[in-house]
């Protein structure tokens, strides 16, 4: 900064144009804070998750196989790149707690070193028969160390003392299965114990999973292929760390915030640049004579240039520092805990590299623009600068080419039209401001509507059953279920996960639903909304899953058959589902592959009241009404509502700062014209109209342009939200209307404020002072 007299001049100039410089500061702060804030969210999650994975010694892949033999175990251990192998038992178990809470049980061997819990309280002793319980589950059920918990294993209820409370790397994002949208610690959690405990229920130690740790950078694809060979037909599935539900969800969050940190701040950077441009151009124009005087006094070109550039740089530096504070504290620290991630540490990590990028961008938007605005005047000699500037020219605009139209409109409309077109930077600035406001608000509302709409599409359109009854497939079969003759429409389904091999050779474990060919309770539709029937020879795949796996209709994938090798099947159709991504196939096709259709569930639309006697049968594991599933989905909108409010506030601030500034600029630039009109007998309201109608013009254009921007933003948000959801972020009319009305209300409010401000300035005084 230039010290002394010029620096004092800088501070006084800024004080004079307070509103403008404060606006630039606010925009610069918002731009950096949003970028730094969103950035630090994923950075924090990534750092803390990785640290947690490392400290718990998380496996790189898990091989699910029923009762693995010693040969299996040693076979995997011999594979190149594998450093450590362990056996464990992993499955969901029922509890006797309210809400039919389920726990995922991990039973480890006593010498286990992989997938260890992160103890929060108590201990995880190697010899005892106790358990370590999910700490948030414990909190939701008011359980403490020293209490005990009952679980059902192999149809035997066993009671286990709680020795410790902990977190798990595999349950950072803790959802029961891919059908659950949000974690709910009151219904789902995990439990960790030792395999010796299983003896109570099974009479012996049993295992169903082999955890594998590999060398860093090992070729996982080839390891998976070798594992497949070693296990052979007994293989149920192989899950890579990155594909496990929790890790996948955490990575999804990281990707989402990376995308948001890129898209959202853009608008704010743009607006910062535009406001700086208009403010500095006006400041420098108005100081034309002063620049002449400074030059005449002997100040060098460089020091004058630096003087005016430093206005921008000062605001830019202050704005980015304030942005760092605001971003980290307001966006980062409030949003991270709302992501429902159970990380062992929430220590905040700031991505300084990206903060520097943001600061640099802001400095270009403020300092760079100021430099550019001043640069233009540098060529003139002091004598030229000290002379009065030529009067501004009037100009014709395109509308005048249509005389029939131009001749009819009122003079005031002509004035507004010409003036609007004359100052294009101002017009563009206000249009961008409103576009941003509309885009942000529309995106927020659309995302909300889309999320609320998941359950409508799923449970209003696709699934039409009243009750879903889960049955134990080992205790019943398709024929028996059919012979029950339940009073109502029923549909049998078999839900599980299946190991598949993609055309690329990659192994994946994906959900599969096998059901009857005539599907009265599940109505599948293709992405265009046309009904799709269950095919006889081939499978259906949901669009989103196809996209994730990189396969299309017509591609052939291989699916693992129980106790046998892989069979190629063709994807004959793509279906659209907002949630419940997976593979769907008919029971006849399933059986034609040599498999048995053994239902795990029954979808029922009762003819009258539900058959209670049936629901009490021993093979009925669980049942849920469609309403309860739907409300489960609808609940937990807290984070979304929070985000919607935050985004609407952001949009409002964008509109307010921009429109307020452009209006004041518009007014100040034309104060002499307007004063003349005042003298001629125009009332305040008429003068206000001349200035403020322009705002409605940019509001209308901004709404038109902002709608596709909002569409784009909601697409970015919804498509990165969750791999398990296929959301399009399509606009709906009510949201568009709410956005339009909200924006118009903002514009009206801003115009009221500006009108009040205009009234404070004595226009006649401005006119008189000229003489």
């Amino acid at each position: 900064m230039v010290r002394g007299a010029l620096f004092k001049k800088l501070l006084r100039d800024m004080n004079k144009s307070k509103a403008q410089f404060i606006s630039i500061f606010i925009m610069a702060t918002l731009a950096t804070s949003i970028m730094t804030g969103l950035d630090s969210i994923w950075f924090t999650v990534e750092n803390n998750a990785n640290a947690m994975y490392q400290s718990t010694n998380m496996s790189d892949l898990w091989v699910t196989v029923m009762n693995p033999s010693e040969q299996n175990f040693w076979g995997i251990k011999q594979i190149d790149g594998v450093t450590h192998v362990e056996k464990r038992f992993s499955m969901d178990v029922d509890t006797n707690l309210p809400k039919k809470a389920t726990l995922h049980l991990y039973a480890l061997d006593e010498g286990s070193i992989l997938d260890q819990p992160v103890l929060q309280e108590g201990r995880f002793s190697k010899s005892s028969k106790g358990v370590v319980l999910d700490s948030s589950f414990a909190k939701a059920h008011n359980l403490k160390v020293g209490d005990s918990i009952s679980i059902k294993l192999n149809d035997v209820w066993i009671r286990l003392p709680i020795e410790g409370l902990a977190l798990s790397s595999e349950q950072v994002y803790s959802v029961k299965n891919t059908a659950s949208v949000f974690p709910d610690p009151s219904t789902y959690g995990f439990l960790m114990t030792h395999t010796s405990v299983l003896e109570k229920a099974y009479g012996q130690k049993i295992y169903n999973q082999i955890s594998v740790k590999t060398e860093p950078g090992a070729n996982l694809v080839s390891i998976v292929q070798k594992v497949d060979k070693v296990i052979g037909n007994k293989l149920i599935g192989i899950t890579l760390q990155e594909n496990s539900v929790s890790v996948n969800s955490v990575n999804g969050r990281i990707q989402q915030f990376k995308a948001l940190a890129l898209v959202f701040p853009l608008l704010f950077f743009l607006v910062t640049a535009l406001i700086t441009q208009s403010t500095m151009v006006r400041l420098i124009e108005s100081q034309r004579t002063q620049i002449g005087i400074l030059k005449a006094l002997g100040y060098s070109k460089l020091s004058i240039l630096w003087h005016y550039t430093s206005y921008g740089i000062m605001i830019g530096v202050l704005g980015s520092l304030a942005g760092l504070m605001v971003g980290v504290n307001v966006f980062g620290k409030t949003l991270v805990p709302r992501l429902k991630l159970m990380l062992s540490s929430f220590s905040f990590h700031i991505n300084f590299r990206n903060f520097l990028i943001a600061s640099l961008l802001i400095l270009i938007c403020t300092g760079g623009i100021s430099f550019h605005a001043c640069w233009k005047l540098q060529g003139d000699t002091p004598a030229v600068l000290l002379r009065e500037k030529n009067p501004q020219k009037g100009n014709r605009i395109f509308m005048e080419l249509i005389p029939s139209f131009w001749g009819k409109i009122k003079f005031s409309s002509k004035l507004i039209a010409r003036n609007t077109m004359k100052n294009k930077v101002r017009l563009i600035m206000s249009i961008i401001g409103v576009t941003g406001c509309v885009g942000v608000i529309l995106a927020a509302l659309t995302v909300r509507t889309t999320l609320v709409g998941i359950s409508d599409q799923l449970y209003g359109d696709t699934f039409t059953y009243e009750q879903k009854v889960l049955v134990d497939s080992t205790k019943t079969n398709s024929y028996y279920l059919r012979s029950l003759g339940l009073n109502g429409i029923t549909q049998q389904i078999q839900e599980s996960a299946i190991e598949i091999i993609l055309p690329s050779g990659e192994h994946k474990m994906e959900p599969i639903t096998v059901t009857t060919k005539d599907s009265p309770m599940i109505h599948m539709k293709d992405p265009e909304g046309e009904p799709v029937a269950m095919p006889d020879n081939g499978i259906l795949m949901t669009r989103k899953l196809g996209k994730i796996l990189g396969v299309e209709q017509g591609d052939i994938i291989q699916i693992k058959r129980s106790g046998k090798g892989y069979t190629p099947v063709q994807i004959v159709g793509v279906i659209f589902m907002t949630s419940n991504q997976g593979i769907y196939m008919s029971d006849t096709f399933w059986e034609s592959l040599g498999e048995t259709f053994s239902p795990t569930g029954l979808l029922i639309k009762w003819n009258g009241t539900p058959n209670q006697r049936f629901l009490a049968r021993d093979f009925v594991v669980d049942s849920a009404t469609r309403e309860s599933l739907q409300t489960g989905l609808d609940s937990n909108m807290e984070v979304i509502n929070f985000a919607v409010v935050a985004l609407i506030l952001m949009g409002a601030s964008l509109a307010f700062v921009v429109l307020y500034n452009t209006s004041i600029l518009n007014f100040v630039e034309r104060i002499r014209d307007l004063a003349t009109l005042r003298v001629l007998g125009f009332h305040y309201e008429e003068i206000h109209k001349l200035v403020l109608v322009e705002n409605y013009f940019s509001v209308v254009l901004g709404i038109v342009l902002g709608t596709p921007v909002g569409r784009f933003m909601s697409w970015v948000i919804t498509s990165t939200l969750d791999d398990n959801m296929d959301l399009t972020g399509n606009l709906v009319l009510p949201d568009v209307l709410i956005t339009v009305i909200t924006t118009l209300c903002f514009a009206w409010l801003i115009n009221r404020v500006v009108a009040k401000k205009m009234q404070e300035i004595d226009m006649l005084e401005a006119l008189k002072s000229v003489e």
Partner: protein, 233 residues
């Protein structure tokens, strides 16, 4: 009753701790349809008289009535309406709206007046029929002042206030502008008040108010006002 009456009018300004009486108790009366000049050096208080007459300022004491309106006791809104209906202004620096053509500048009046004159006719009357679609920046100073006169008259006001209308013009153009103001005023029966420091102009007026230090030093009635051509400056 006279058309314009000033009765012991005072106007004080406070600049810092100092109180300045820009107008210090003046009284005068002017007739309808008359051509008048307020003469004085800068600081004599003549612009304040014009501002008061034009409803742009209120007196701190005294009474002003114009055409039967008590403008000294009007509200802000009433003053605006008074300016709208009763007063036409011609400024030293024209003050045309740069974004409107000559014709459109005159049409301004049509939008706010109950009984405006036809903008084209009045522009023809001031001799600008060929220039009416030009923007102010394309017109010479004299032409701009003529547009400004046309704009003042198009409102069909009762009084026309001219603040140094020739101040920014060369003498030949200034003469033409003055003649135009006088002729149109006479033809349309308007009361004209010209404020100037240029003494010779006073010779063409029917009434001359000579101001000095906020007071009327002399009030002169010319039985036979001179023609513009006879004036030298």
């Amino acid at each position: 009753m006279e058309f314009i009456t000033f009765e012991n009018v005072e106007r004080e300004y406070h600049i810092g701790d100092a109180t300045i009486k820009a107008v210090n108790g003046i009284s005068f009366q002017l007739k309808r349809g008359s051509f008048n000049v307020v003469l004085g050096q800068s600081g004599a208080g003549k612009t304040t008289v014009l501002n008061l007459l034009g409803g742009m300022d209120l007196p701190t004491a005294g009474r002003i009535s114009v055409n039967g309106y008590e403008i000294s006791s009007m509200s802000e809104r009433q003053l605006t309406n008074y300016r709208r209906a009763q007063v036409g202004f011609v400024f030293q620096f024209y003050n045309l709206v740069p974004n409107l053509t000559a014709l459109e500048n005159v049409q301004l009046a049509e939008e706010i007046c109950a009984d405006p004159l036809d903008a084209r006719e009045i522009l023809e009357r001031v001799g600008l029929e060929k220039r009416m679609h030009n923007f102010p920046s394309q017109l010479s100073g004299g032409e701009q002042q003529r547009v400004s006169i046309a704009r003042a008259l198009a409102k069909n006001p009762q009084i026309v206030l001219c603040d140094e209308p020739t101040g920014a013009l060369d003498s030949e153009t200034g003469r033409k502008v003055l003649r135009l103001i006088r002729d149109i005023g006479r033809d349309l029966g308007k009361t004209i008040i010209i404020v100037t420091h240029n003494a010779p102009i006073a010779e063409m007026a029917q009434t001359v108010l000579h101001m000095r230090d906020g007071k009327i030093a002399e009030m002169k009635f010319n039985e036979h006002p001179k023609d513009v051509e006879e004036i030298l400056w």
